[in-house]
C-alpha cells in the first residue's frame, strides 16, 4: 500500500493535491521550443489558472454559503428557512442572485458617481487577494509569498478605505456614519489582530502559511493548543472586521439602516453581500490554516485529498461565525472599541510576551520539542483561562452589575416611594 502510495505521489494524476496537474501542465508548456522561449506563456497560464481557480472557488463557495447560512440561522431562529426553490431550498442562492441582478442599480443624484460605482468593485480586490495566499494543499497556493501573514493583514487594511469610498460617495448621512464607524473599528481591531498573528509567527518561525502548516505537521500539534489566547484574539478581532452581527456597527441595521451600503441596490449591493461572505470565509480559512493545521489532519491527509480537509475545516469554522451571528446582540461602538483596546490588546501583548519567553528558552537551550511543547501548551491554556476569567471577573459588565430580577411589590399605594 505504501509502495503504491509512493508511486502515485506527485504524479500529475495524483489529485490529492490539485497542484500536481497544474505543475505538470506548466512543465509541459515550458518544455516547448528550446526550453525557454515559452516561459512567458507558462507565466501567463499560471496566473490565469490561479485566478480562474480562485474565482471559481469563490463563486461556488458563496452560493453554498448563502444557503448554509440562511438555513443554519433559520434553525437557530426556529424557522424552516428557504425551502421553496428546489429541493431543500438549494436553489435559493441562485434565485437571490437573479433577483439582485434584475433589480435597478440606483445612483444617488448628488453623490459622487464614479466613486460610487467603483467602491463595490474595489472592495472585492482585498478578498480575492487574501485567497491568493491561502494554502489549499501542499502545492495549492496561488502565490506562496514568504511574508504571507503580514500580507493578509496589509491587504485587509485596505478595506476601511473602500468602505469610506462607498459611504462618502453615497451622499447619505447614514452611509457616512456607517463608514466612519467602520474605519474606526477597523483601525482599532487591526492592532490585536497583528499581535495575535505575531504569536504564531514567533512560535513557528515562519511567515508563510505553508511553512506554518508544515511546522504543525512536523510537531504533530495544532497551534490552537499552543496558542489558545492568540486563536481567540485573532478570531474576535478578525471577525470584528467582517461586519457580522455582534460587531456589525458599520451597517447596523436597527440604527443606521444599512450603514455604508444604504444607497446601493441591485448587483452593487450583491457585491457587498458577496464580499461579506467571502471575507468571512477567508477569515475562517486563515483561522483553519494558522490554528487548526490547515490541510494537515494527523496523517489522514495521506488518504483524503488535502484540499478537502482544508475545505472541511474552513466550513466548520465558518459555523462558529454563523453561531455568533445568530445568537449575540450588537455592541455599541464605544464598547466595541473599548473591547479592542482594553481587552484584546492587553491579552495579545501578554501572549506575545509569554510566547517570546517560551521560544527563547526552547531555542537557546536546545531542549527537545517533545518536552517543551506539552509544557508550553499547558502553561498557555492555563494562562489564557486565568486571564480571561480574571478579566471578566474584574472588569466585566455582568459581574459588576449583576442582573437582578424586577422587585415584586404587592400593594400599589403603600409602596409608593416618598
Amino acid at each position: 500500500m505504501t509502495a503504491l502510495c509512493g508511486y502515485v505521489l506527485s504524479e500529475w494524476y495524483d489529485l490529492r493535491d490539485l497542484g500536481n496537474p497544474v505543475q505538470a501542465l506548466l512543465d509541459w508548456i515550458n518544455g516547448w521550443g528550446d526550453g525557454s522561449t515559452f516561459h512567458w506563456l507558462a507565466y501567463v497560464v499560471a496566473g490565469l489558472i490561479g485566478a480562474a481557480a480562485i474565482g471559481l472557488f469563490l463563486g461556488i463557495a458563496m452560493l453554498s454559503l448563502i444557503w448554509i447560512e440562511r438555513k443554519a440561522v433559520s434553525r437557530i431562529q426556529i424557522r424552516y428557512g428557504p425551502n421553496r426553490t428546489g429541493p431543500f431550498g438549494l436553489l435559493q442562492p441562485v434565485a437571490d442572485a437573479l433577483k439582485l441582478m434584475q433589480k435597478e442599480a440606483l445612483t444617488p443624484l448628488a453623490g459622487d458617481k464614479y466613486v460610487f460605482w467603483l467602491a463595490p468593485v474595489v472592495i472585492f480586490i482585498p478578498t480575492l487577494l487574501v485567497f491568493g495566499v491561502l494554502p489549499f494543499g501542499p502545492k495549492m497556493t496561488a502565490a506562496n509569498i514568504n511574508v504571507a501573514v503580514l500580507y493578509i493583514v496589509a491587504v485587509g487594511s485596505a478595506t476601511p478605505l473602500v468602505i469610506f469610498m462607498a459611504g462618502w460617495s453615497s451622499n447619505n448621512k447614514y452611509s457616512l456614519l456607517g463608514a466612519m464607524r467602520g474605519i474606526a473599528m477597523a483601525i482599532s481591531y487591526e492592532i490585536p489582530m497583528v499581535l495575535s498573528l505575531l504569536g504564531v509567527v514567533l512560535f513557528t518561525g515562519h511567515m508563510d502559511l505553508n511553512g506554518i502548516v508544515q511546522w504543525q505537521q512536523k510537531y504533530h500539534v495544532w497551534l490552537i493548543v499552543l496558542q489558545p489566547l492568540a486563536a481567540l484574539t485573532y478570531f474576535i478581532s478578525a471577525s470584528a472586521e467582517l461586519n457580522r452581527t455582534p460587531t456589525d456597527i458599520a451597517e447596523a441595521e436597527s440604527e443606521i439602516v444599512a450603514g455604508y451600503h444604504t444607497e446601493y441596490s441591485g448587483m452593487k449591493f450583491g457585491l457587498f453581500y458577496a464580499v461579506e461572505l467571502g471575507n468571512a470565509l477567508a477569515v475562517s480559512g486563515i483561522w483553519a490554516t494558522l490554528f487548526f493545521g490547515g490541510w494537515w489532519l494527523f496523517g489522514l491527509d495521506r488518504w483524503i485529498p488535502a484540499w478537502l480537509i482544508f475545505l472541511g475545516k474552513m466550513y466548520i469554522l465558518y459555523g462558529a461565525l454563523i453561531l455568533t451571528r445568530g445568537t449575540l446582540p450588537r455592541l455599541r461602538i464605544d464598547q466595541l472599541l473599548d473591547f479592542a483596546w482594553k481587552f484584546l490588546l492587553p491579552l495579545a501583548l501578554v501572549n506575545v510576551l509569554v510566547v517570546a519567553a517560551e521560544v527563547t528558552i526552547w531555542q537557546e537551550n536546545g531542549i527537545s520539542a517533545g518536552w517543551v511543547l506539552p509544557i508550553a501548551a499547558v502553561i498557555n491554556i492555563v494562562l489564557s483561562g486565568v486571564l480571561i476569567v480574571g478579566y471578566t471577573q474584574t472588569f466585566g459588565f455582568a459581574r459588576r452589575q449583576r442582573p437582578r430580577r424586577a422587585r415584586l411589590v404587592t400593594d400599589t399605594l403603600a409602596a409608593m416611594p416618598q
Binding site: N146, V147, L150, Y151, A154, S157, L161, I187
Partner: protein
C-alpha cells in the same frame, strides 16, 4: 532584471504610479486626490515587490495605504469643506518648474554616473532585515520606537482637549438652527 513578467510589470507600474501622482495634482475633489494617493501607494508597493523587497512592500501597504490613507481621510473630514475648493495657489507655475528642475537633475545624474551595478536578488528579505534591525541597527530601531510613542502622544496632545461639553453645546448654534427651522 529581464524576462517578460518583470519588464511588462515595471512599465505598467511606472505608468500607474506616475499617472496617479499626477492625478493627485489634477483632482478637483480632495477626496478624489486621497483615493489617487492611495492608488499611488499601492502601485509603489507593487514596484517594491518588483525590486524583491517583499517585506517593505507589505509594510508600505500596511502603513501607507492602510493607516496614512485613513488618517488623511479623517483629517479632511474634520476640516471645513470650504477649503476643499479652489486648491491651487499662485505657485503652480514655479512649483512645476522647481519639480521639473529637481527631477531633471536627478535624471541627469542617474544617467551620467557610472554605477557599480550588481544584481542583489534576495531570496527572503525578512530574515535579513530582522538580523540587521536587531544587531547592527538596534539603536536606531529603539529610537524609532521612542519617536513613534512621542508622535502618538504629541498627536493626542495637539488634537485632544476636553470632550464635547453638552451643557454649553446644547444651547449652541446647532440647537438654535433646529429651533429656527421649526
Amino acid at each position: 532584471m529581464s524576462g517578460f513578467g518583470p519588464v511588462s510589470a515595471f512599465y505598467v507600474l511606472a505608468v500607474l504610479s506616475i499617472g496617479s501622482a499626477l492625478a493627485v495634482m489634477a483632482a478637483r475633489s480632495i477626496i478624489h486626490a486621497v483615493l489617487f494617493l492611495v492608488l499611488f501607494f499601492v502601485s509603489l508597493a507593487a514596484m517594491f515587490v518588483l525590486l524583491s523587497a517583499d517585506f517593505v512592500a507589505v509594510a508600505q501597504l500596511l502603513v501607507y495605504a492602510g493607516a496614512i490613507g485613513v488618517l488623511v481621510v479623517f483629517a479632511i473630514l474634520l476640516t471645513p469643506s470650504r477649503d476643499r475648493r479652489g486648491m491651487e495657489t499662485k505657485f503652480v507655475g514655479p512649483g512645476l518648474l522647481a519639480g521639473a528642475v529637481v527631477a531633471g537633475t536627478v535624471v541627469f545624474i542617474a544617467f551620467n554616473t557610472n554605477w557599480d551595478t550588481a544584481s542583489n536578488d534576495f531570496p527572503s528579505t525578512v530574515d535579513a532585515i530582522g538580523q540587521a534591525l536587531l544587531n547592527r541597527w538596534a539603536l536606531p530601531f529603539e529610537i524609532a520606537s521612542v519617536l513613534l510613542i512621542a508622535a502618538m502622544i504629541g498627536a493626542i496632545v495637539v488634537v485632544g482637549g476636553r470632550g464635547v461639553d453638552l451643557d454649553t453645546h446644547a444651547a449652541g448654534p446647532a440647537t438654535r438652527l433646529v429651533r429656527r427651522e421649526r
